[in-house]
Symmetry: none
Subunit: 210 residues, 4 copies
DNA sequence: AATGAATGAGGCTTCATTCAT
DNA sequence: CATGAATGAAGCCTCATTCAT
């Protein structure tokens, strides 16, 4: 509330700080990261962070907010994909890109951990999840691939399973050795995505992929 | 490791401390929990904790270790269940019991977050996961329900999906309002378990449950 | 070493802290002095000390370093004295000054005690001692008073005796009641200095002083 | 005051504890040594120390007392030596013996440091010093070697110099690398002793030793 | 707008001391 | 007599936050 201006410069600064915060949060976790860590990573002074964020919690909330926006973008891209499978592939590999849509596994797991204690964050994460779920439910409902009722499961129930798998794989992801490249992570995610897809939407016939 | 005595009394004390730690960790997270929090919860003095644990990290590690044992027990119970569905139900609801196998969602999410930074914890969690996966893979391989190859997915691949869903539901669980009772959580878990089971192992026919 | 800034202000702060530390160290000893003691004596907050010193040990090391510099200055003054006796008087009374080269007996004894356990401090103290010994050896070698070989003792051997006496008197100094004034201490030191000098360098003749 | 019995067994226990304390004090210093350190070194429980000593300070005081007795014994032996030189040699090498009269340099330096703050210890050390000085003064006064007035220095003044040198060498001793053997230390001490002796008591003639 | 010096509360840990067994 | 579990005050250090420049 103490952030008066929301002009371009301000937004840039906020982005710069959040970029730095993400790096730190992913590396050390929210509460192991000091404001000094963030300022150092951003290449600015500690005091400056307080010009753009009320306090540390506000940085965390803003990060959660940004996560929400990033998920929205991912969802948008998924929506524009020509097939349901490709949509799912986008959803499941969003956090594997070296950069851009910076959905980083360790950060997200921390976000959920934080959500379990911080109602403000919990609300945000719940909102993210609901929006995404609704989007995917819609996607499924419109998809010709999902036309045939999959064992009587409704689109929303399918979406629930899809998101459970997605989160579950994110969790497993943090156990992987740090040396794994983004490409390798991506390959693993794709494999499971296709496996899941073939299970959910292609129950009649031949194996989905060679 | 620097605790010389491992007699019954010592083990009791350690248990008492770990019990208290779990409550605190679940409530506030590892790094938001102070040693004083734990001692207060355990009803002992701060200094006493250090007679049984080298430092705070050792408490966390011991908690991870205990988690490992509890998962083993859950797995054992799952193994003894008469049907695969019941096995899965046990696996998916282990953390919903009011107490007993105290696998509390928030704690586990925190454990994964910690694992992403603390190699010692990461090793432990990886080990837990592998053991559990192997157990379930075996369960599936022996199960008559899973006889017909489900779309060419091998038992291990099915286990991967099952555990992904399980972890994913755990994550969602931390978003639920605290007021939800263990019974309610359990009901939700069971529903998804059955949905998943019907999808994975009962692809031919009629809806699994009414 | 982790203190980035070495500008005038920083050096002032460091000096201010070291001044306070000396008072505390002399009064209570290194390990009986708390960081709070130092900060209170310096009139600053505890945290601020850590901006200028990595930890308590670094403060002790810095004090040892400062001691080294002060001894160097004393040595320099001794070197410029017109006679050997006056040089010795300077050396033996350096710690009696109310302030200036603040070589306080109790602090030095503590420094040696610390040196016996802390290799870093030991190296420093050894270095101080060696430099001072070399300086005095040189002083003696150049001195006309010491021309006549004093019983076959070489300049270096004489220096060794002189420093032994000097240290020994410092030790006795800490036993003196605190009420003794600097002037009184100084008088005692001078007396022994002259006695030692007359013994070492004036073996022929009449009593040294009336 | 809470030590009721002073029978043989009690004295043994006290000795055992003080032996252990000396080892610890010499190794780590008074205030870096914990009661647990002492009990571990003595192979007994912590609580037992408190049956024989009121508190930690009492242990330190008792150590100071024991030091006093040891110095008395050294003095007694010195008194019985046939020549003054041999007396001095005993005085100057007392702390080099591998064991027996356990006058350990680091401990003594710590004792003086402590004396500068703890009046009870200061009194003790002053007393030790005075007794020893008186003894040596007496020794000198009776010695034929010191008959010829050494430059008009009185026996007491000579004793002062001797003790100053003795203490000063003790201080230097703590700077020596730990690897130096007792024999090597002893050799060094003897050399300086003879040098000092030849200076103080043998001003006429040939070098004292080859 | 930006800096970073300064504060002080609070966290982890140690340790002198007590006391039930 | 002996043990060592237990306590809690106190020490070192960190870090969120403020504010003068």
């Amino acid at each position: 509330m103490s952030q008066p201006q929301m002009d371009a410069t301000s937004l840039d600064r906020r982005s710069q700080i959040l970029d730095a915060a993400l790096v730190c949060f992913a590396k050390r976790g929210f509460h192991q990261t000091s404001m000094h860590d963030i300022s150092a990573e951003a290449g600015i002074s500690v005091g400056l962070i307080y010009r753009y964020f009320e306090n540390k919690e506000a940085v965390i909330s803003a990060m959660a907010n940004r996560h929400k926006k990033e998920i929205s973008e991912v969802l948008e891209r998924a929506r524009r994909a020509p097939t349901l499978l490709e949509s799912l592939e986008i959803l499941f590999t969003a956090h594997c890109c070296e950069n851009e849509p910076r959905v980083i596994s360790a950060f997200v797991v921390d976000l959920y951990a934080e959500a379990s204690r911080n109602p403000r964050v919990a609300d945000l994460v719940r909102d993210v999840l609901q929006t995404a779920m609704d989007g995917v439910t819609d996607l499924i409902a419109r998809s010709p691939e999902a036309e045939s009722a999959t064992y009587g499961l409704k689109p929303y129930e399918l979406a629930e399973l899809i998101f459970a798998v997605s989160r579950g794989m994110l969790m497993r992801d943090v156990l992987q050795p740090q040396e794994m490249t983004a490409a390798e992570r991506r390959a693993r995610q794709l494999e499971v995505t296709r496996r899941l897809w073939s299970l959910l939407f292609k129950q009649e016939s031949e194996p989905a992929y060679a």
